[in-house]
Amino acid sequence: MRTVFLCLALLFSVHVSLWAQTEVSIQFVPCWKDGQVITANQIIADSSIDSLQLNTMRFYLHKVELTFEGKQVWAPNNEHFLVDVMDDKRASVQLILPEHLKYDELSFVVGVDSALQVNGAHSGVLDAMEGMYWTWQSGYIHWKLEAEAKIGGNRETITWHVGGYRQPFNTLRRVSLPAVSGRTTMKIGIDVFSLLAAKQTDIDYTIMSPTKHAMDLADQFQNAFRWLAD
């Protein structure tokens, strides 16, 4: 009887350890050169820009994946998250991972899955009420950045609403970052300076439809994510 009990206890502990989970929180923050975090209402001014005040930065992400040595080790479902870096309550994404999972890369797709763009009305973070859905034509805004700036002495209103799920202007992009397993909190910066710097040769401060400009900007946004120290 005692042996049976021990066996059951052993099985139970193995089961528990196999299914033990840990929550990992990934916080997204806007940042400037050298990882300087931009806070709400902060006005950035330096040698590269007269002034910049970031008002909005929101984006969808989905298809979160963790890989180890090139092989996928975790990809739970196709849940969509809406991240608002200017709102503390919506700036983080929580992932429930198997405990002791080893991974060396984190990746996710910025935007809303193409299949969900063509099958009608949705609720939750995909509710059109979130202000991330174009009404003049069907399609979600994958990410938006709105800011007031003074550049080279000129006042500019930056309105970048980047979306598009069909070719030739599919602006969905997968972001991949090297990752260290075992951490429960992570902070990812989105380098606003790199977005502006990349646009300096061909400045278009208003992008609100799927176009070649939106494609270029989506490429820049894909490369604007970087790890920051907690």
Binding site: Q117, G120, H122, A128, W136, G139, K212
Partner: protein, 338 residues
């Protein structure tokens, strides 16, 4: 020899008889919109109907969907080249007729909308039409006793959400099926075309069917209609960003075409005879599709025959269907006072 001749005559007779049989009916394709269980509930349809006719969807509660889509003219805006919206603002396109929407894959003249559920968001938020904001619409509906009751009855609680509102509107719009015209009766073997209508039908198949394909009388595609552009309306090209799509507009259904005047994306043709004349000349002001390049000029007699056939697409039972009209009783029984 006589036996061989007899067999030959029998075979010939069989072919002759076969050629006299009526053509097989044109089959309807599969619907593209799949209704959920809730949407099939008649109360959901009624809720959608209430929303369709209610100006509460507009900023100042003056414009409803029905303002530009009147049931008695196949849900278009009769005698208006382009619709006028809130504060008498003038839009830029002719309100399209609404019917058989369960088969549509795209909506609007430029196909900007990819799903029926999302269609109402365009006119609700368009500054020239209803000029309203979605959060405010939901707020107004939530504050309405009538809508709280209706949403509760349909969805099990009174919460008004975007998804519920849009799916209810779709539930009503899907009921706008037109398939009881004389053409349909002929297809079902319940009626015969007159000789003139039959001649028109043959002309239709020769000249029009490639784009206005039976039985929906649209192939759902985008084509140049051969008329010179006015203003800065580039149609489909505005949506796809592809240069070759510039000047293309959605092929409208010809069902109920008698009721749905004026014609063309900008409503520039007031009468069906204007449209007949435009296409019968087969001389177009713009680059047109391969199908239209194949068109041959038609004389007046042929135009009359073709028009005669097009009139067989009129479905008066659809146009005058009570279930599609203003829901007096519903508003009364659920309190007109929102």
């Amino acid at each position: 020899m006589a036996r061989r001749l007899g067999i030959l005559m029998a075979v010939f007779g069989m072919f002759a008889m076969l050629s006299m049989l009526p053509e097989p009916p044109v089959r309807w394709p599969e619907k593209t919109y799949v209704l959920s269980a809730v949407q099939q509930d008649s109360m959901c349809v009624e809720l959608g109907r209430a929303l369709f006719y209610d100006p509460i969807l507009s900023r100042d509660s003056t414009i409803s969907c029905a303002s530009c889509h009147s049931s008695y003219v196949a849900f278009t805006h009769v005698d208006h080249k382009v619709s006028h919206g809130i504060d008498d603002r003038i839009g830029r396109r002719n309100a399209p007729a609404l019917m058989n929407l369960a088969w549509s894959k795209t909506f609007m003249w430029d196909g900007a909308i990819n799903h029926l559920d999302m269609q109402p968001l365009a006119p609700i938020t368009n500054a020239l039409e209803m000029d309203e904001q979605l959060p405010h619409v939901l707020e107004k509906l939530q504050a309405s006793r009538m809508y709280r009751r209706l949403f509760d009855e349909v969805f099990g609680d009174s919460l008004v959400t975007t998804e519920r509102m849009l799916k209810s509107l779709s539930a009503f719009l899907i009921t706008l099926e037109s398939n009881r015209s004389k053409y349909d009766a002929v297809q079902r073997g319940e009626a015969l075309f007159s000789e003139q209508e039959q001649r028109g039908y043959q002309l239709f198949k020769q000249h029009c069917n490639a784009c206005h394909t039976e039985p929906l009388f649209t192939n759902g595609g985008f084509r140049s209609n051969g008329i010179a552009p006015r203003g800065d309306d580039f149609g489909r090209g505005e949506i796809t960003g592809i240069a070759s799509d510039s000047g293309l507009f959605k092929v409208p259904t010809l069902r109920n075409v008698y009721y749905s005047r004026p014609y063309m994306h900008d409503g520039r043709m007031a009468r069906l005879s204007d449209v007949m004349l435009h296409y019968s000349l087969a001389s177009f002001e713009t680059v047109v599709s391969a199908e239209m390049k194949m068109m041959k000029p038609m004389n007046e007699e042929q135009r009359i025959d073709l028009t005669s056939f097009l009139l067989t697409l009129s479905d008066s039972s659809f146009v005058f269907e009570k279930k599609h009209q203003y829901p007096f009783k519903l508003y009364e029984s659920y309190s007109v006072q929102h």
